[in-house]
């Protein structure tokens, strides 16, 4: 017997920058200070740690015995068929107190390999979605589709595009480090968070 139809609870998004793309392709990252082989998707701990911990709820031990969290992540494969995989969430560490990360994204069938983003559809976002039935899903969301009304729900598309606009505006005044559009949205309260806003 099937249960009640799930609703969407929360979503976390982050723009895929060229450096992230190289990580996904298992090439070196752009930031030497991040460590030579770090192929993780990094987020600021402030603003994201609490959200990710509600998606990644199972405790586990990572490399060097560190306490991490894992979750079964749903995704669509390159043929559009639903699949699942396990992904790791690394909370802040003593040496990196301000960062959290989704580890080894190049290894993940949900984001790397044949699932690499299509760069012909404008800018790309990684999107984690959590539903009321506990399912957590990861996708690439494309700017072209987000800008087209009727494809994505207005709540999430306006949240992402609004955050992108803020990042673009900041980057237009910078010559150095570029700001990444990243944030989350709580569908039960209607409250959104855009990092650095």
């Amino acid at each position: 017997m099937s249960g009640p139809k799930p609703t969407v609870i929360r979503a976390i998004y982050r723009e895929v920058k060229p450096g992230d793309l190289r990580k996904l392709q298992a090439e070196s990252n752009d930031d030497p200070s991040a460590g030579g082989g770090a192929r993780d998707l990094r987020f600021p701990a402030a603003g994201f740690d609490t959200e990710f911990k509600q998606m990644f709820t199972r405790g586990a031990r990572g490399a060097r015995g560190r306490e991490i969290r894992v979750a079964t992540i749903h995704y669509l494969d390159d043929l559009g068929a639903p699949q699942t995989t396990t992904m790791e969430y690394w909370p802040p560490t003593v040496s990196r107190r301000t960062e959290v990360r989704i580890a080894r994204i190049h290894d993940s069938p949900a984001l790397g390999g044949k699932r690499l983003p299509d760069l012909e559809k404008g800018r790309v976002f990684v999107l984690f979605t959590q539903y009321s039935n506990g399912v957590v899903r990861v996708d690439y969301a494309y700017e072209d589709e987000l800008r087209k009304p009727g494809v994505w729900a207005d709540e999430i598309r306006l949240a992402i595009l609004g955050c992108l606009e803020i990042a673009d505006e900041k980057n237009s005044r910078r010559s150095g480090n570029q700001v990444t559009a990243q944030g989350h949205y709580d569908f039960s309260t209607g409250l959104g968070y855009c990092h650095g806003q």
Binding site: K5, L76, P82, W152, A153, I156, F187
Partner: protein
């Protein structure tokens, strides 16, 4: 979920008219559903796509809960922000309430400020990229509508609007308004601005609307619908059966009311015209009790009071017409036309009960229904 399939025919007609003409007036007798239609169109115009669907195994994990706006919709491509700006006109409505004007500031003696009226605020909203605005004006002819629109009237028609891309056409009509600094500036109403108004043409306390004003609007007329009343009363919508000689069950009372309602409106149409009829909604003041003769009689008595008051109002000063509608010269009617001489002049008045007994009322309704 909002979808094209659930739009009722009247609401679709109004939305299509808005898409083409930009400005629509709903006109009809009281109780014909103008306010209901106004609310329906207002809700549909917003086409709330803010609600999120959930599709854990679909291509888009968070799709919109609504279907896309139909292509024929007003400003179908403007989906970023659709807003409604409601207002009601009264005898005191001014141009400053609709567009702009000067009013004293309450926080600074002797100083003035420039108002931002409903149509002006809606226009500013509609000028934003991806946006559309609907101004809803109830009772448009209860205030001085022509004066209230003032200079904006020249830019109201669809071909006089400023296109969404901001470049005026040869037909775009600019007119002067006050800027925030109090100086005059030119302004044009935007393409994605719509005006939906409602009016009761036959109300005795309304302002006339001139032809130049009305021709800028599409008129969507509503008529009384006996079938709606019959359905509300639990009767078959169209098949009016023969009346029982005395009411034996609730449906006998309701059938008598429904048939008398139709015959009365026929007489009003003959005597005063379509606009003076009474709408079905006026007799749908409460849920009609399905069982119990006494409850049905109470409901019908209340409905008759409404019908009688309407007859008295539309034929005010014409006693012979009231007598005709009440069948005062018919033996079965509890009413009589009294003709006498008073102060040397011939006078007439209708006599009879203010509140007929149950027996009198049923007999009256049956008489009107069969007349």
């Amino acid at each position: 979920m909002v979808s094209e399939e659930v739009i009722e025919p009247d609401a679709k007609d109004v939305l299509q008219a808005l898409a083409i003409r930009k400005n629509v007036i709903l006109a009809g007798p009281p109780g014909t559903g103008k306010s209901r239609l106004l609310n329906q169109v207002r809700e549909l115009f917003l086409w709330d796509a803010a609600h999120s669907g959930a599709d854990p195994s679909g291509r888009i994990p968070i799709p919109p809960l609504t279907s896309p706006l139909p292509e024929w919709f007003p400003s179908a491509s403007q989906t970023e922000s659709r807003e409604v700006f409601p207002t009601v006109f009264d005898q005191n409505t001014k141009y400053r309430d609709v567009m702009r004007g000067l009013v004293p500031r309450v926080d600074a003696a002797g100083a003035f400020t420039v108002t931002s009226g409903t149509l002006y605020r809606a226009s500013l909203h509609a000028m934003k990229p991806g946006s559309a605005a609907l101004v809803v004006i109830d009772e448009i002819n209860r205030g001085p509508a022509v004066a209230a629109f003032g200079s904006a009237l020249v830019g109201l028609e669809a071909d006089k609007r400023l296109p969404s891309h901001g470049t005026p056409t040869a037909e775009t009509q600019y007119f002067e308004i006050l800027g925030d600094d109090g100086r005059s500036r030119l302004f044009a109403l935007p393409e994605d601005l719509y005006v939906l108004a409602a009016m009761n043409e036959a109300d005795t306390s309304v302002e006339p609307l001139d032809v130049a004003f009305l021709r800028r609007f599409h008129l969507h007329r509503l008529q009384p619908q006996a079938a709606v009343l019959r359905t509300h009363l639990g009767l078959s919508p169209f098949a009016a059966g023969a009346l029982a000689s005395t009411p034996a069950e609730a449906s006998d009372w309701y059938e008598a009311l429904a048939q008398a309602f139709e015959r009365t409106n026929e007489r009003i149409r003959l005597g005063r015209g379509d606009a003076y009829q009474l709408g079905h909604g006026a007799l749908m003041h409460a849920v009609a009790p399905a069982g119990g003769l006494a409850n049905a009689q109470i409901y019908v008595s209340e409905a008759w009071s409404t019908l009688r008051a309407h007859i008295d109002e539309v034929f005010f000063g014409d006693t012979r017409a009231i007598a005709e509608v009440l069948l005062a010269e018919h033996g079965s009617s509890p009413y009589r036309l009294l003709e006498a001489t008073f102060a040397g002049q011939s006078v007439r008045r209708v006599t009879g009960p203010d509140r007929p007994t149950a027996e009198e009322l049923y007999r009256l309704l049956a008489t009107i229904a069969s007349s």
